[in-house]
């Protein structure tokens, strides 16, 4: 099945309906394995059990950023190829990405309290994550205020691409201002510095989170297509009523 076949919303919904139960099952299974491995993972010698927050915090941060990447690709799809599902994908990704970013901020703040002694520090990485959340809210505000969904999705696509410039700033802000937040330690030159006993559960959780994102995203896209159909049917109904009365 080529990507062009998926341009047909009916076919896309049929595919989603077929795939979704399996995706949900695999996601639940991976979360069960990941959480079990997380419980068995060793505590940190300084931070104790609070280090386990990391297994939620880090994947949420990755997904928060990845969702913007997906929105940017969808934005290209909307503006360049005019793919009919691209703006649906972009619109569905925004609230999910915002939710993951929010989870990252909340878990980070709960983790910061015992470790740094404060809920919030104006550190570069935290701040850029917060800015990312604000950008998500901006995109969502654009969708809300637009009275015509088509126009709104194109405006949001442009904003997504402009905001994509912000993603590298987030990624490299760690190197710019080296403050309280520790540097990147999973992906870096010379291999990971994390012990496998922590890295493996973390990676399982990352895959589980990614699958959760895919599941939610596909379901949200299906809902958005159905919502647009309802809107079209309502408009047609209103038009018929207006014609009947006139």
């Amino acid at each position: 099945m080529a990507i062009i076949d998926l341009a047909n919303p009916t076919r896309f919904i049929a595919l989603v309906n077929r795939v979704l139960p399996w995706l949900i099952a695999v996601t639940v299974l991976l979360f069960a394995i990941g959480l079990a491995r997380t419980m068995q993972a060793p505590d940190d010698y300084q931070q104790g059990a609070t280090v386990k927050i990391m297994y939620l915090h880090v994947p949420a941060a990755w997904l928060g950023m990845m969702a913007w990447g997906i929105m940017s690709v969808a934005a290209l799809g909307t503006l360049v190829w005019r793919h009919p599902l691209a703006d649906v994908a972009g619109k569905a990704a925004a609230p999910i990405g915002a939710a993951f970013t929010f989870i990252c901020l909340v878990t980070g703040s709960l983790w910061g309290r015992p470790t740094w002694g404060t809920y919030w520090v104006w550190d570069a990485r935290l701040t850029s994550m917060l800015v990312l959340l604000l950008l998500y809210l901006g995109v969502m505000a654009l969708y809300w205020t637009a009275d015509d969904p088509n126009r709104g999705s194109r405006a949001a696509a442009i904003l997504s691409l402009v905001g994509a410039v912000n993603l590298p700033i987030i990624k490299f802000s760690v190197d710019w201002w080296n403050t309280l937040h520790q540097g990147s330690s999973v992906f870096r030159m010379g291999g990971s510095t994390i012990s496998p006993s922590i890295l493996i559960p973390l990676l399982i959780m990352a895959i589980a989170f990614t699958l959760l994102f895919v599941t939610l995203h596909l379901a949200a896209m299906r809902n958005e297509i159905l919502r647009r159909r309802v809107r079209t049917m309502r408009l047609m109904q209103a038009q018929e009523l207006a014609e009947a009365h006139s």
Partner: protein
Amino acid sequence: MSAFVSLLKRDMRLAIRVGGGALMGAFFFLIVVVMMPFAVGPDLGLLSRLGPAILWIGALLASLLALDRLFATDHEDGSLDLLMMGDMPLELVVAAKAVAHWLTTGLPLVLITPLLALMLNVEPKALGPLMLTLVVGTPALTFIGLVGAALSVALRRGGLLLAVLVLPLTVPVLIFGVAAANTAIIGPTPFGPPFTILCGLSLMSLVIGPVAAAAALRHGLE
């Protein structure tokens, strides 16, 4: 190029004459800065330390507030449609409007900064660097705001939506603007690095702003 210059002149003339409200931004800037000491107290030591930050926030809000009308008036009277149908690339049209906007609202902000800096007890030796950061940084604010202005006129919504869209994108400009200005007052760190990054951000927004704004207008108003 002559079309660019004549559009620039037209926009500046419109802004300066009655109803244009070019100086309104400067007045707003003045009022925001004057309100600050009422909030933080008249302690001159504290004010001199906060001075660059207050001035930058004031400049940010003032340039944001004025952006609302950048395309809206032209859209209402139909001249925006004419400009879009003209020979000149829309990116250049948008850039000309932004430059005119900066000359009539951004530049006055920079020019009244010495007076306000004096009132906030900013050290005289810091005045030069502070103004330099504002000269370099305010165009970035205008060109980033350009995207928001284009998006909000395409959706026929203004005001708060514009602020919600634009403010998060101006964070880096604010950070490096204030950082560069502060090095002259507090920091032992050199003025160069944050200032050159600020210049880089300005140049980047100079490119991204018109392209994105033109795309927003094309997609929004067709």
